[in-house]
Amino acid sequence: MSSHAEHPKFLEHHFVEPEQQAASAKLGMWVFLLTEILLFGGLFVVYAVYRAWNPDIFHNAHVHLDVMLGAINTVVLITSSLTMALAIRSMQLGRQSETITNLVITLLLAGTFLVIKYFEYSHKIHLGQLPGKFYTFEGIEGTNPHIFFGVYFMMTGLHGIHVLAGMATIIWVLRRTIRGDFSAAYYTPIEMTGLYWHLVDLIWIFLFPLFYLVG
């Protein structure tokens, strides 16, 4: 790059060139995703410890989860990851309306995931399959079956919050796409949102077998 290179509008003052800005954003995002993995890592440790101590409870309790709904949600999220990736691809090619379509589909799929989760949750709340002291269900053998639901609600709950945060971020880049902020030369925020969204998807891919398919 020559020293008289143009200074595009999206380039912040403290970066020398767009490549540096994009590379910084990417590195920062990957490091942030690492912190997310460690945040969930704590809960995966909780899962491992309590499952090792109570294998029978995990087995007896997991049959009360609806594998069908969990499987549908898995497909929904994986599809949303695909449309997210397609949104980035579209913007790389400078196709704004295609990007918007893909982002909207991603958003709708995320919403579908949460709606299905809502039905699952309300069914469990209705039956009293709840964490700790709130547990009132009487159909599971073994001591302390509430532990399974405690871990289940903590992990899927935290994941659900991340889905919400992802949706908020997608709405933000959607607005900016509609406003025309992005082009084939600059689409970093969409790409970063994509990275985050894939992580949210990936965590669910671990949660689904660990809770629904342990039997």
Partner: protein, 534 residues
Amino acid sequence: MSDSPAVHYLNEQKGWKSWLLTLDHKRIGILYLYSIMAAFLLGGVFAVLIRLELLHPGQQYMEADTYNQFFTLHGAIMIFLFIIPSIPAALGNFVLPLMIGAKDVAFPRLNLLSWYIYIVGALVALYSIFAGAVDTGWTFYTPYSTESATTVVPMTLAVFILGFSSIFTGVNFIATIHKLRTPGMTWFKMPLFVWGLYATAIIQVLATPVIGITTLLLILERTMLIGIFDPAMGGDPVLFQHFFWFYSHPAVYIMILPGMGIISELISTFSHKKIFGYKAIAYSSLGIAFVSFLVWGHHMFVAGQSELAAVIFSFLTFFVGIPSGIKVFNWVATMYKGSITLQTPMWYALSFLFLFTIGGLTGIFLGTLSVDVHLHDTYFVVAHFHYVMMGGTVMAFLGGLHYWWPKMWGRMYNEKWAKISVALIFIGFNITFFSQFIMGSQGMPRRYYNYLDQYQPLHAFSTYGSWILGLGFIVMAVYLIHSLFKGKQAPKNPWESLTMEWVTNSPPIHHNFEETPKLTHEPYDYDKVLAEKN
């Protein structure tokens, strides 16, 4: 004066809005500096009050419950609001981009956000103090923390929020160090403070999420009664300790590593000599960061973990001594045959060497299984971590503060009063805490409100020391504030340092450098530069 430009980052924009909405890393550093100093004052007041109560056995000035709250607040405030953000977020924010010849950190908005998150966390912590302060100790151990009637939830929520502030600073610094170094500055031409900040940022990023999830679990345990730490419900209270220390042990290296980075700068600068063993010091920072994740179990030798685990943790703990020792020996070797000038920052560096070595070696005592069984939960532990945290990190922080003070404000402080202050702090510190080593080895338990008469002379000695220490800080506050208004104009480079922040003006302009600075020599090429000069 040519060294002080008419327009610089402090006066370029005026009004409180220009500060609260600033994206300038230097101003954000100053905002952090004000905040952590306020926290330090608050935590310090609690410390003096605790020592006052312990002057004699029995009740002196406060109830036992109040005393429990005071030592908890002293610990929680000093750890989460002062010492963790102190060097990275305040000094690091200000200095890091200057040292690597950048205009700013990689993500300026994230930087400002991290300060706001810190403020929100601090306000939640203050709320918890006024709504019936926590009395669990800063470690929030279950099962007591799930039963205590005090405001555990707001305080742990504050810790959760403050964690994000720390994570964002870490993410920002990693990206900054990787991507924004000036052309020609390779990894091994970076100043060692930058290496220290880099190792710190790695720990911040890897460890802090775990305290986040831990505090979240504790909050859920209290509000939703999930029973995860409650044995009556199939839970395990020791699991909390594992989680807590998986963060909190690496966290003590979040506290000490940037301090060690400052010491490398100070020792080389004031010895006017190339740092000895640059690479060894740089790698040892990463070595400490790595080992820090493998030693948390040494906090739980008597908490019921398996004997095998205890032996392994004890063994691994000794490894911390190797990179720490490498640093200390390299610093001493740097001073050897250097032309040492004893200005205030160097006094702090020497205090650090002396106090950190005592703190580090007593850490080896505590990491030894059989010795720890005797010393666990005594004043020996209290003295050990104060020698490392205050004698180490705080001394390094103060050294760095005095070193970069002229750069921050464009003013010099009064050297004579600064030396009186550092002498008072050094003497007061040793009187306060060395006595605690002796008490601890004689069996005085930590956190006790009352004690046997036999410990009274040493307790009194320790309390007198805390007054000298407090006086030293009051003197410092007076001359530092005085210097802001009446201090002499500072030159560009009052210490003849070779790192890049001294190339620009004091105080620097908004964009740090008039033009992208060129790297003409390595950060510690004193022999080469001095030879060229003559």
